[in-house]
């Protein structure tokens, strides 16, 4: 077994930084599998109700703002790109670039949440938030409420993951600021990147399911 020079980040239970990094990455992947199951419950509910009342779901998705949805999709894909570049910068030990890309990722993530906030505000204004105040014009009326219940549950859970992600990003940024990451040790940046891409991918599923399917 090859022992590199002992790095300050090496924890006592591991015998090498390689082992430590592999362990962390595997742990992160398992956490993401767990996240898939978490969203899986929501997707299951979506499938059940969509197949029970397809017309209402089509009507519901027509009332969503496809423009804002598209803008948000572009923003998130962009943030995944900057995140991937940030990981690369960490691996190659370029601290300034790393800070820049992490900052860009955070800014794009925040922009996504702002746009989402506007969408929520519109829905509130249009009485499309499920509950006693809900009303939807047209013959399908209350049928569409279930669509919006799922819309808010799914996008809300996603937004919550974005908020947690931005919090974690601040922590990674602080570590990068102190110069803790370099070619030998960049696991936190890499694992945070995995999380960020995952949250992005969830949106890539949510966007067509909520905004696009059945639209004409």
């Amino acid at each position: 077994m090859s022992h590199g020079p002992t790095h300050e980040a090496l924890q006592h239970q591991f015998h090498s930084l390689d082992q430590q990094r592999e362990s962390s990455t595997l742990g992160m992947w398992l956490f993401l599998v767990n996240e898939v199951m978490f969203f899986g419950g929501l997707f299951a509910a979506y499938i059940v109700y969509r197949s029970a009342r397809p017309e209402a779901f089509v009507a519901g998705s027509h009332s969503l703002d496809i423009g804002l949805g598209l803008v948000n999709t572009v923003i998130l894909i962009g943030s995944s790109l900057t995140m991937a570049l940030a990981v690369h910068a960490a691996q190659t030990g370029r601290r300034r670039q790393l800070l820049g890309f992490l900052g860009a990722t955070g800014a794009l993530g925040t922009a996504f949440l702002v746009v989402k906030g506007f969408e929520y505000a519109h829905k509130w204004h249009d009485h499309l938030v499920p509950g006693p105040g809900f009303s939807f014009p047209g013959p399908l009326g209350g049928e569409v409420e279930m669509f919006f219940a799922l819309y808010f549950a799914m996008t809300g859970m996603h937004a919550l993951h974005m908020i947690v992600g931005i919090g974690l990003l601040a922590w990674v940024f602080a570590g990068a600021w102190k110069g803790r990451f370099g070619p030998q040790y960049f696991t936190p940046v890499e694992n945070f990147g995995l999380y960020w891409h995952f949250v992005d991918i969830v949106w890539i599923f949510l966007f067509p399911l909520l905004y696009l399917i059945g639209r004409h």
């Binding site: 009342r53 397809p54 017309e55 209402a56 013959p139 399908l140 009326g141 209350g142 049928e143």
Partner: protein, 327 residues
Amino acid sequence: MSQEIRMLPEQASTVAGQVDAIYLWLIGVSVFFSLLIAGLLLYFAIRYRRRAEGEVGGRFDSSTLLEITWSVIPLVIVLATFFWGAKIYFTMFRPPADAIEYFATGKQWMWKIQHPSGQREINEMHVPVGVPIKVTMTSEDVIHSFFIPAFRVKSDVLPGRYTTLWFKATKTGTFHLFCTEYCGSEHSLMIGKVVVMEPEAYQQWLAGGPAATSMAEAGEQLFGQLACSTCHQDGPTGRGPALAGVFGSQVRLASGRTVVADENYIRESILNPQAKVVFGYEPIMPTYQGQIGEEGLLQLLSYVKSLAPKPAETAAAPDAGGDGSAR
């Protein structure tokens, strides 16, 4: 009630004996395997007990043949049990075509029973012996479960939809009716009794109460009161589809899908008419949510069912209602 300890509840329906038979079979299987395992364990433990401090066990530690044997034998047993159990299950949830239809509504914390002839009872259910009886059930609040141990039948009772079970009592007497799905404070008081009577005695019992309008007749009256008949006229001229013969048939929807018009479809069409609009009609029917109680819905349902073609014609599609709506 006698205080003697019984091992099996009274058998008072046609399926009770079948359920007990599979129960006794499984007890036999369990006793056999428990004794086999216990016997082998004890024998090995004594025969191969440790006799010296440093002693260790032998090398016999794998045999694919043995593993296959003790996987396949239980597999055969459980699969046979599965088929047997499934057969009983299908019997339990396929009411015979000539079953009389009762209605039961669960409500925290009582059972409201309605006879086909319109009589109502609370927490009591009088039925004739030897006649197949189908119970269509719904709940006004939470999930309940309708359980008659002596008949070995049970089904959950859900708000917002219909479930059914059926039985044919084989002996007269009084039997427990339990709610078996936890439903709140007085769940354990949501119990009643089923009184099985000779058919003549049942007829007398029916005659003894106040004169009642049958479920279908009450439904017909309600149909008029709510002005349903304005649109749902006989023949193709109405603004709404004609209802004669609809129950149990295949209905084509505006969206192109086809559904079976079972109990839950009729219910939904009254409460939420826009959900499934029949092909060729405008979605103009208003909702009756909040205007009709569970009882009224059951009466309307009975009426719609009574509009079905005469028995001679039903033979064409006898199972359509039974299958789809049973569960």
